[in-house]
Symmetry: C2
Subunit: 376 residues, 2 copies
Amino acid sequence: MTAAPIGLEILARDGAARRGRLITPHGAVETPAFMPVGTQGAVKAMAPAELWDIGYRMVLSNAYHLAVRPGADLIAEMGGIQAFMGWKGAVLTDSGGFQAMSLASINKVGEDGIRFRSHLDGRAMLLTPEAAIEIQRKLGCDIMMALDECTRYPAEPAYARQSAELTARWAERSLRARTAPNQALFGIVQGSVYSDLRRTSARQIAALGFDGFATGGLSVGEPKPLMLEMAELSASFLPADKPRYLMGVGTPGDLLAAIAMGYDMFDCVLPTRNARNGCAFTSAGRVSIKQSRHLKDSRPLDEHCGCRTCASYSRSYLRHLYRAGEILAARALTEHNLFFYASLMRSAQAAIASGTLGELRRSMPEAADSEGMEEE
Amino acid sequence: MTAAPIGLEILARDGAARRGRLITPHGAVETPAFMPVGTQGAVKAMAPAELWDIGYRMVLSNAYHLAVRPGADLIAEMGGIQAFMGWKGAVLTDSGGFQAMSLASINKVGEDGIRFRSHLDGRAMLLTPEAAIEIQRKLGCDIMMALDECTRYPAEPAYARQSAELTARWAERSLRARTAPNQALFGIVQGSVYSDLRRTSARQIAALGFDGFATGGLSVGEPKPLMLEMAELSASFLPADKPRYLMGVGTPGDLLAAIAMGYDMFDCVLPTRNARNGCAFTSAGRVSIKQSRHLKDSRPLDEHCGCRTCASYSRSYLRHLYRAGEILAARALTEHNLFFYASLMRSAQAAIASGTLGELRRSMPEAADSEGMEEE
């Protein structure tokens, strides 16, 4: 085997938390790192150069979505997903198992893979572990994810066990199907909310020769304490010298909690989706820009924020833009939220280096971690 | 009377065409100038700083829309429309007569003004010439437009005459209602497509003490040769030492034609609206990004363009973004089109200075001037 396509340098530790540097074929990524979600090859409302300027060096995209439209062959012909997007940094693609399960009108999970119909044109498709690898090979992403079955919540223990075992068999097939030496491949731990299943799944996946390891199947509806418990349990079985990725999580508080467990990488639609719904993350908690109390508020979203939105626009103007349905509302709030998440990661990196992650976690306002949005 | 709130320095002439500099309370605007349309206090899909970087120094907004939402008093309290938008340049506001006519569910034009119901909440409103001035005073725009009746096309001569006469009486009332010495006020010529009415209207409006003069009621459905004929006729009666503004026009070819007639200022939704519909203006004519021929086209929209869109994205990626409904498609195409229009104005300015406007007009590709979009 050639040299590993990615490497994680651990620069500092604070308890289980690690501050590191992930070396990818498309540059270095300081960790802990949040990856903005660019499902269809674009982070909604943002330009790639803006993501770069905020400090992001890796984004997430989705193999299922890109395979359905515009097609993996097209992207390969255009030079790969980074060139296609005009993105200078690294790209991790989710395999699309989650989307095949949640979006496709008809789907059936079998030993071979996931049978479904495209959510766009109803075309029958079969996503096997081998096909997911082949799609991601064509996309040319820096990090590929093995196809998994994202176990629904709630799931009976028997089903959850069967599902985690299927994911483990698919993990082995994914590794065998891999051909591109310059693309990393991560395995995914499942096991729903059952400690014994999580333990077994984590041991099985960790025993395989992946370049990194992800904890999946969380933030799918389970109570938050259970999510955190399962995330921590899963992490404890993952190799210390490889990157650990907690998929689909979460709020600022969740991220700091997971960083304290030793996770290095994260993705979540919260900062981008909430922005389009008028919700901003700030150092004083969440701000719902719809609220009438912002009507004549000439202050920025966050007086302690250094983003372009806070330097340029008042809450009053943002509220007007949101109510008027202007694209600039989505742009301004998305940029602010992604800046907030990037700053959070920089704070976490610095805190780990100085051994003060606990203090940082305690300074996070409760409101910022609340799942619910303030309502008008 | 104090010094005029705006002044036009004529720097060069080429036939009837003028290359000038409009001095406003919010800075200088090189003319001929195109004003991007920011109806609701935002140019759709763009950030103010991007407009500035492209070279725009004046944008258009709409008094009717802003009065309905968020309200002129609110904007006054927030420091005026420029501060509210976070825009460093000048703002011209249309009075909203056109919108009151076209958007409001019930409207009736009488001697006093336009009675209508808000297109948002159905609230009964009466827009008088005095109210339009008062709203624009509160908005704090650099250039106010007098309330006019935008005569519908087609219009019978008798109705068109009556309408133009009403606009003339409203023009006098607008001037009397004006109180803010630091805001310019422009009058508007009507007269539909009838030469005698245009002549009369232009003479009447030109005789009044406006700071600038606009030709309105064109590009409302009449054949293009008639539009150009009426625009030229109207311009010939407008004072040579004041700015001349052709409202709501138009294609790149229309703009050059109107510049040759001696117009200095323009606004049109074409570059921004067409962008959101997937249509780009290029040096080789219009490009409809939807078309399947762009599927694997790695070239930019325009190989001779210096905009960020053309530096960053292939036609293939833009087509994907458009089909996927990504906001970045609207952003990228809008920025390109506004860059194209800004470049066109810079070319016109340079051509007038060097006496080569005729050559510039002949070099404009026919396709760029076509009203119709290419269809897939």
